[in-house]
């Protein structure tokens, strides 16, 4: 990448009518970095993700991904270039089986997705690949149940698994542990830990335990502005951050 950042936002602003949600956000994330974004509710974190992923156009500024300007590219075109994301509210295919969910993620970049005159049974290798992935999170027993029938904790793991199945270069995780019981939180943390050294990661999270476990760099958003950005340890001790985000204690 010749020193170019994996993801670079330059002066990104977003307004909804007269409401300004993001104000001149500039962030550069290097390949291999694991970056957390924190901030109070309404700080603009999810909007930022939606702009990076291409679901929302930004009002001003540009988004560069892997050295190319993707500001005007559609969400699916960015995904094809190696950008994957998970959603704050579980966004899976509820009536399809777990295997089918993962196969959809796996075949997204293969010509196979246009094959319409052969039953899926012909593509046994794809199913095996999906099963192997499922095995990594120990959910093989649920392979053929519809996702809808799974427990919430399992669904949250599948949510991440789908994004990993895309073999992304950049992974955006929008509150992966939202609403999880403590036992399931550690499952998700372990899952993300296992990817260390591989994929570049940006994580929105309210659970500070998860943030401290997973990321090495922290960005703090407040009222749509970046108020702090630096190594985890530095930000942790930043008085201003403690004031606005953590109410003074950490």
């Amino acid at each position: 990448m010749n020193g170019e950042a994996c993801l670079a936002l330059d002066g990104v602003s977003k307004r909804f009518g007269s409401l300004s949600v993001l104000e001149d956000v500039s962030i550069a994330i290097r390949a291999g970095e694991r970056c957390g974004i924190i901030g109070p509710n309404g700080a603009g974190k999810s909007t930022l993700f939606n702009i990076v992923a291409g679901e929302l156009p930004c009002t001003r500024g540009s988004v560069r991904f892997l050295g190319r300007d993707v500001t005007r590219l559609s969400a699916h075109a960015r995904a094809r270039r190696g950008l994957a994301r998970t959603f704050q509210t579980t966004t899976l295919f509820p009536r399809l089986t777990v295997i089918e969910n993962i196969v959809l993620a796996l075949q997204a970049s293969s010509a196979e997705r246009f094959a319409m005159l052969a039953p899926r049974g012909r593509y046994r290798a794809r199913d095996e690949e999906a099963r192997a992935l499922l095995d990594r999170v120990g959910l093989t027993a649920h392979a053929d149940s519809p996702v809808d029938a799974l427990g919430y904790g399992d669904k949250r793991q599948i949510e991440i698994l789908l994004a990993l199945a895309q073999k992304p270069k950049l992974l955006l995780l929008d509150e992966p542990t939202a609403g999880l019981a403590p036992a399931d939180v550690s499952l998700v943390t372990e899952m993300l830990e296992r990817e260390r050294g591989g994929v570049t990661m940006v994580l929105i999270e309210h659970d500070m335990g998860v943030v401290f476990d997973v990321v090495d760099r922290l960005i703090v958003l407040h009222h749509g502005r970046v108020v702090a950005d630096g190594p985890l340890e530095t930000i942790r001790g930043d008085a201003q951050v403690q004031e606005i985000y953590l109410g003074g204690k950490l």
């Binding site: 992923a53 995904a79 997204a108 094959a115 899926r120």
Partner: protein
Amino acid sequence: MTARLRWIVVLAGLVIALLLPRLGVPTFYVSLLTQTWIFAIVAMSLDFLIGFTGLVNFSQAALFGVGAYAVAIGATRFHVTAFVPVVALGIVSAVVTAAIFGLVALRSEGVGFIIMTIALNEIVWGLAYQWVSVSGGDNGITGIVRPAVGPFDVSANTGYYYVCFAFFAFSLLLLMLIVRSPFGLVLKGVRETPRRMRALGYNVWLYRYLAMVISAAFAGLAGVLFAWYNQFVGPVALSLDQSTQILIMVILGGIGTLYGQLLGAFIVVFLSNELSAVTQRWEMVLGVVYFIVVMYAPGGLVVLVPRLWARLRGRRAAAEEP
């Protein structure tokens, strides 16, 4: 139902379908069954969109009608009457129409899409109704003659029954193959959660568009068969009423089942013909049937079959207990 039982049911259905015209069934009923095959094809084409892609398309009758008018106009103006060219002409006309419809209607989703397709259907109906020099207006176009299919003369009802049955069986198999393919899985993904599909890298618009075009090929085919069946085409064939009736067939039969559409088409065809001999208010009766199905079998009538079967088995097992 076990796989073996399913095969037995399919084989029995096939044998009955093939033998029916030879069993002394009155011609009237043979022709109603022929209609059933035809409408089952167009109902399946709509089910492909609603049940597998999540697109509620109210312009299916327009595509069906365009196929039918293509036969009529081709025959009366351009002397295109041979079997294969006419089938191809009907299918291509419907596909081209859907390709244009898709560009317009797929700019919106959900309710917006439904309203766009209603408008598009009305436009095509308006053309058929008012462009008298081409379509014959309200009088429609008469004088369509069924061509021979290879060495077979199908001008009689029985022969034509087999043609329509063959096309129905072919369409059902082809559509079942498509929905079970990797492409079919993509369509189901689009139906379930378009947002996630985009995040996975799928061009949701493109898959919806392809589904509309594929669906139109079957609707157009049904239109061709319908034109030959009636040997007449009028604007009623592509009215919004017709679109609604196709939708009712899909809901009665069972959305997302494909083969259920045979039952849906059967009910609507037989009710409309049998009841209209008794009362002009037959649509009210259809409405009541529709209401009962939606209330008590929202998955469609076809899902009742395994449920009844299970209950029957349960009762038998209970009777055998000492």
